[in-house]
């Protein structure tokens, strides 16, 4: 008789189970659960104070949970202190050791683990090359730029080959151009290494561009956890809709309802929702990009009240009776304030939003 080998837990998986954390009297995190599959790039997105950095620190073990469990790579790590977890962090301030050179900063974790000198040299050199930081070995952290410091922080965590890499707003301190370049590099690095990345950010663009899934956080809760396209196209609530920049959020009365669908009267139009939240009066949203303007007559007509050129698009405010809709049209279209236009909105573009 042969014994089945025990199922090896997947390295790089994370499961946060009903975790709570208080700071003083304030509930920073309340009953949060999150599942991450090995090799995923998950972003915790939300405004400051929503608990995203706290959640990251709990995963790292830098703070202790009040309740709940944190399971990393199949092992319960809830009670394991930070220095024994297979998880490393890139801090927002980079937190480079000022008394150590770039090389020694990256070598820090290996030195603590008493790795032989030869191994330290080769591993540090390899990871410094991977983040394009060759030749700066002997510089002090005070002698390198912000972008380089960011790479050192990244190299210092990656050299230890963590199961999960945690990144706390790593790009926030960089200028816009460098930020978008680093964003791309992060994604490439994550794909080539296959390490699970968990990124904290308040930057929507960053979250959408980098992530396999986004956990939108609000006041210590996860408001929605889904792929970027789903978050953007089908925000579940008014809060998420505002966060992803949905320009048109209206409230309407439910006039007909089946088990899942609903017909909502917005005053100037009746909208059919495939998935509708409960209630007699519900919020409905549509992205400005999904509203087309034309000069041909149509069932829905309005007057352009304001036109703003934004470069990538032109934002038009259109008044329809008592309501105002915002449409983002191609900058090549010529629209002027005062124009009478007809609006074309695909039925599937409307999204029902929980309050």
């Amino acid at each position: 008789m042969t014994l089945e080998p025990p199922l090896r837990p997947a390295r790089g998986s994370l499961s946060v189970e009903r975790v709570s954390r208080k700071r003083g009297e304030v509930q920073v995190l309340g009953d949060v659960s999150l599942e991450v599959v090995p090799g995923e790039f998950v972003t915790l997105l939300g405004p400051s104070g929503c608990g995203k950095t706290t959640l990251l620190r709990l995963i790292a073990g830098l703070d202790a949970v009040d309740a709940g469990r944190i399971v990393i790579s199949g092992n319960d790590m809830t009670m394991i202190p930070a220095h024994l977890r297979p998880v490393h962090t890139v801090f927002q301030s980079y937190a480079l050791f000022p008394h150590l050179s770039v090389f020694e900063n990256v070598a820090f974790g290996l030195r603590i683990r008493n790795r032989p000198e030869e191994e330290v040299r080769s591993r540090v050199a390899r990871v410094l090359a991977a983040v394009h930081l060759g030749g700066l070995d002997s510089r002090a952290p005070s002698e390198i730029s912000g972008g380089q410091g960011q790479r050192v922080a990244l190299a210092r965590a990656l050299v230890l080959e963590p199961d999960i890499l945690l990144l706390d707003e790593p790009l926030a301190a960089l200028d816009a151009q460098l930020r978008s370049a680093m964003r791309l590099e992060l994604v490439e690095l994550q794909r080539s290494l296959g390490i699970t990345f968990i990124l904290v950010t308040h930057d929507l663009e960053e979250a959408i561009e980098c992530s396999s899934r986004i956990a939108v956080m609000r006041a210590g809760q996860i408001a929605q956890y889904a792929a970027p396209r789903e978050i953007f196209e089908h925000p579940g609530s008014v809060y998420v809709a505002r966060l992803v920049g949905m320009e048109n959020i209206l409230e309407g009365r439910v006039v007909a309802r089946t088990e899942t669908t609903a017909r909502v009267d917005l005053g100037f139009i009746e909208v059919d929702l495939q998935e509708a939240p409960t209630g007699d009066s519900i919020h409905v949203g549509v992205h400005g990009e999904h509203i087309r303007l034309s000069r041909l007559g149509g069932p829905l007509e309005g007057t352009v009240t304001e036109v703003r050129y934004l470069g990538e698009a032109t934002r038009c405010r259109v008044r329809i009776g008592a309501a105002t809709l915002v449409a983002n049209v191609s900058p090549r279209e010529v629209v002027r304030a005062g124009d009478l236009v007809s609006l074309d909105i695909e039925a599937a573009s409307w999204v029902g939003l929980r309050p």
Partner: protein, 261 residues
Amino acid sequence: MKALRLLVPAFATLLLLFVIPQFLLLSRTGDASVWWRLIDPLYATIFGRTVAMALGTTLVTLLVGFPVAWALVRAVPERWRGSFLLLVTLPLWTSVLVKLYAWVFLLRSGGLLSQFMSLFGSDSPSLLYTTTAVALGQLYIELPYMILPIYASLERIDGSLIDAAQDLGASPWTTLGRVVIPIASPGIVAGSVLVFVPSLGSVLVPDLLGGAKTAWVGTLITSQFGQARDPAFGSAMAFTLSVLTLGTFLVFARFLRKAQL
């Protein structure tokens, strides 16, 4: 050029308060015979004892002062920190003489300490006028000078550095040894100098708490200018002490430079 001009006040102070007095001392030593008298093993013993006491004071204030400074920075909430720091500096507001007389009352037979000890039935002799009393007084006087510079250097350590060290696998003790102490080393060296140098030339503590029973360099020099009426020999000893101090200072400075690299 501008940098040199900025150094003028510092150099002037140094010249006026250190270099010139040293030459004045030298000019009072008279003929070379006083220097030969210094080689007497008696004085070597006194110098050795004084250096040992100064080193011991430095070491113990460091061992006590570092945890106190660390607790001030890490354990005391920010809004209380000012008040706690005030408590540390409070002894500096009073004259050393007053503080030492307080210790005399504390340590003498029938004083608070022996009363307290007698509660436990122990028949403790007075500690006053012993080397232990001198050591206690020295520690008490010098402790704030160790705590303050270490506190200043610890306070500037960003908490995220400690998080980062632990996150990268350093246990709390490893974090202390590899991150906190190296970064705080300028404060540690500054505190050590501030304690060691005055301890070498301490006069009041051995006089009041040691009862002038045991000779120390400071008391010895003072007595040469007083009872012994031998200012030439006193000047020679004072000059030797200055050189010794300068020497240790240079060693400390070297430590500091190494630590900062």
